[in-house]
């Protein structure tokens, strides 16, 4: 694994026969004092400042005697980029102190690869943004590193729902930013007090700070900006009847294409549609989403067989404003109660000939 570098050997350590060594095998590392007489204590500290602090907290771990050596096994792996101070205090005589720096492995610089929606015109009630990074990122600073500017005016205050948990994907490479629903929804106090985060007719810039740290605590390669215009709110649920299917030809591996009159939520569009035959058997293949999330294409793994098929669309598919199939994001319970009918899936039949 990593090669530890002994930085210094202080006090009596250099002259003494007893030296502290850092040894490692695989992911494990441990500290060893050879020829340690019984009764000595070995403790390891994160070396944050020069000089030992008398009330410093030693790191967790366990000590054991091995042959004539005293060995300290840290409870957690040593962290690249940090310096550790090992202190051996024999039953009698001066302490032996050594520091070790754990080098950081070289790695490519992390980039912001894409921001979804791809479009540069978003509805006033836009619900989510997805930031895709090239490598895993650090949790705990997202809302400090992302800023929304109203062009010509300056920062929009608290546009996003800030959750300590933050909404990352399992790889830590995609961050979901939710616009504060209290400012998206009509008639709520936050919206009446502070107004919507986005207003129709204005333009905005999303700024991703280059100091945003990846999981290895390294900054991004640069600052990123995405500028977009804002149009009127979209309060209509997507209607699959308005979608246009382009069936492929039999015996080909042409993609089945589905064209949508408005952009959909990229993550959900990529994952919630499925192609099956009439018996419900899924057709294997791969999905592509392009044209600013208004086109979904499915390329089969094997050539199309003639016959009838169905595209099943999960009911939780949302458009940019969080309206899902058969259900608007907001339902006016006094005027539009009939719109609360939700369907499990929408079925789009097509034939391959």
């Amino acid at each position: 694994m990593r090669r530890a570098v002994a930085l210094a050997c202080l006090a009596a350590a250099c002259a003494a026969a007893q030296q502290i060594r850092l040894e490692s095998a695989g992911a494990r590392s441990w500290f060893r004092v050879e020829g340690a007489a019984p009764g000595g204590r070995l403790a390891v500290f994160v070396d944050t400042a020069p000089g030992a602090s008398p009330d410093a907290t030693p790191m967790l771990g366990s000590s054991r005697a091995e042959g004539g050596s005293l060995v300290f096994d840290p409870r957690f792996p040593l962290q690249p980029g940090l310096r550790y101070r090992a202190e051996f205090r024999p039953a009698s005589g001066p302490p032996v102190i050594a520091t070790f720096e754990i080098p950081r492995p070289a790695a490519a610089v992390t980039r912001l690869e894409h921001v979804y929606p791809s479009a540069d015109r978003l509805p006033e009630n836009q619900l989510k943004l997805y930031l895709h990074f090239s490598a895993p990122m650090s949790r705990g600073e997202a809302y400090r590193r992302v800023q929304l500017l109203e062009n010509g005016r300056g920062p929009v205050e608290l546009p996003f729902l800030e959750l300590a948990e933050e909404l990352w994907d399992p790889d830590g490479k995609r961050l979901t930013l939710l616009f504060d629903p209290g400012r998206v929804k009509q008639d709520l106090l936050p919206r009446r007090e502070a107004g919507p985060a986005l207003e129709a007719g204005k333009s905005y810039t999303l700024v991703i700070d280059g100091a945003f740290l990846d999981a290895s605590s390294r900054p991004l390669d640069q600052e990123y900006r995405k500028t977009f215009q804002v149009g009127p709110a979209d309060r209509d649920p997507p209607d699959p009847k308005t979608w246009r299917l382009g069936p492929p030809s039999a015996a080909s591996t042409e993609p089945l294409s589905l064209e949508l009159p408005e952009p959909m939520d990229q993550a959900l569009l990529e994952s919630l549609l499925e192609v099956t035959d009439l018996r419900g058997q899924a057709v294997a293949g791969s999905v592509e989403v392009d044209r600013q999330e208004t086109r979904w294409r499915f390329r089969p793994a094997a050539p199309w067989q003639p016959g009838n098929y169905i595209v099943l669309v999960g009911k939780t598919l949302e458009d940019l404003a969080g309206n899902s199939i058969g259900r608007p994001f907001e339902v006016d319970v006094f005027e539009r109660v009939t719109e609360r009918i939700a369907r499990e899936t929408a079925r789009l039949p097509f034939a391959v000939r």
């Binding site: 907290t57 790191m59 948990e165 008639d187 919630l272 499925e274 999960g314 939780t316």
Partner: protein
């Protein structure tokens, strides 16, 4: 996080036991000895008998752990650990900026405090459960040999769906847990679809239940309804009926009776307070002082809110356009920067807070306001 959870529900359990002459449940007997596997440690809640529930968002599971921590506390004095994040980092052999304290809960029996901590901030971070004794000693609560049980959280119907690159990127952040009436309630927020699914999982674990889709009437006029997710909640009895007081992502505070939460059903809650801009609820506790009862709610760095529960039972469901109603609140200005809050004892709360901007992150008891 949150709670006087156990204390509130203890009464309900006791009532059931008396009414039906049922033998006390040995919760520990339902757990298996061995290593409790966690991929992450987020929301925490105490159940009965020192059982600790841990929300593991990465594994999409709730893990119940018998802490064996059942020795009633001697009278606990004030507790204060300055720069607690630095001490934890030193203990875990890392730098303070590599530590996240995800949740904090006080064992109501022993007054030992449990912290869910991430060592590291990336997806490979190591979850650690720490215990802070009333004397202020921080120690690891080892998961290597404990009695535990886990239950997978039932996922959204399309959770297995893969994106165009063949990856399932969907994940649900477990934002709060509470144990009440023999069930673990779980609030979560998906990183993809915007939907509310409050789950109730009977404990001892059998299988996770589908969860009720909670729909609420929001707002001044109770007019615009959405599937907004629950962010944090606290069990609370209103007229001897167990309720949840839930704070939603779009800020209303809502009450609904637990008896109405049935799998697969939709529940209508009642908005009891409309919280304005900048109030993003983190934790809630309920306490009594001088004969009155209050809700104390911490918000993300914007002060702590105190509300009297005096009129909480008088609000009916909002079914027609009405004028504004709801609990009024006062903000405790000196409690800014509170990141974790739980009830410590009858007269104090425990917080993790950076009370002075740019100052240290401290763990300390405060008098209940």
């Amino acid at each position: 996080m949150t709670v006087s959870r156990f204390r509130l529900c203890a009464f309900a359990l006791f009532s059931v036991a008396v009414a039906f002459g049922a033998a006390a449940i040995d919760y520990s007997a339902s757990l298996k000895a061995g290593k409790a596997e966690l991929k992450s440690a987020g929301a925490l809640a105490f159940g009965p008998d020192g059982i600790l529930f841990v929300g593991d968002s990465v594994s999409a599971a709730i893990v119940a752990i018998d802490t064996g921590d059942r020795k009633a506390a001697a009278k606990a004095g004030p507790l204060e650990i300055k720069a607690v994040n630095e001490k934890i980092a030193a203990l875990l052999g890392t730098a303070p900026d590599q530590i996240l304290i995800n949740d904090m809960v006080v064992n109501p029996i022993s007054r030992n405090t449990y912290l869910a901590v991430s060592r590291g901030r990336g997806p490979e971070a190591t979850p650690v459960i720490l215990r802070v004794t009333p004397a202020g000693k921080i120690e690891e609560f080892s998961l290597d040999n404990v009695k535990s049980a886990r239950v997978a959280i039932p996922n959204a119907p399309d959770a297995q769906a893969k994106d165009a690159r063949g990856a399932n990127r969907r994940m649900e952040a477990i934002t709060d847990l509470a144990f009440v009436d023999g069930k673990v309630f779980v609030a979560g927020l998906s990183n993809e679809e915007f939907a509310s699914n409050l789950r109730a999982i009977p404990f001892p674990f059998r299988e996770a239940d589908k969860g009720a889709n909670v729909e609420i009437y929001h707002g001044q006029h109770g007019r615009w309804e959405t599937n907004s997710p629950v962010r944090t909640f606290v069990p609370y009895e209103i007229k001897k009926e167990a309720h949840l007081l839930a704070a939603y992502t779009c800020t209303p505070l809502v009450k609904f009776p637990i008896s109405t939460l049935k799998p697969g059903t939709k529940v209508v809650g009642t908005t009891i307070a409309e919280l304005g801009n900048r109030n993003r609820p983190l934790d809630m506790i309920i306490y009594k002082k001088a004969g009155n009862e209050y809700i104390l709610m911490s918000n993300s760095s914007r002060g702590v809110m105190k509300m009297s529960t005096e009129k909480i039972d008088t609000f009916g469901a909002i079914t027609q356009q009405t004028e504004r109603q709801g609990l009024s609140y006062e903000t405790i200005p000196e409690l800014k920067g509170v990141e974790q809050l739980d009830k410590y004892d009858d007269s104090s709360a425990l917080i993790v807070a950076r009370l002075v901007e740019g100052g240290s992150l401290d763990l300390k008891t405060i008098a209940l306001p």
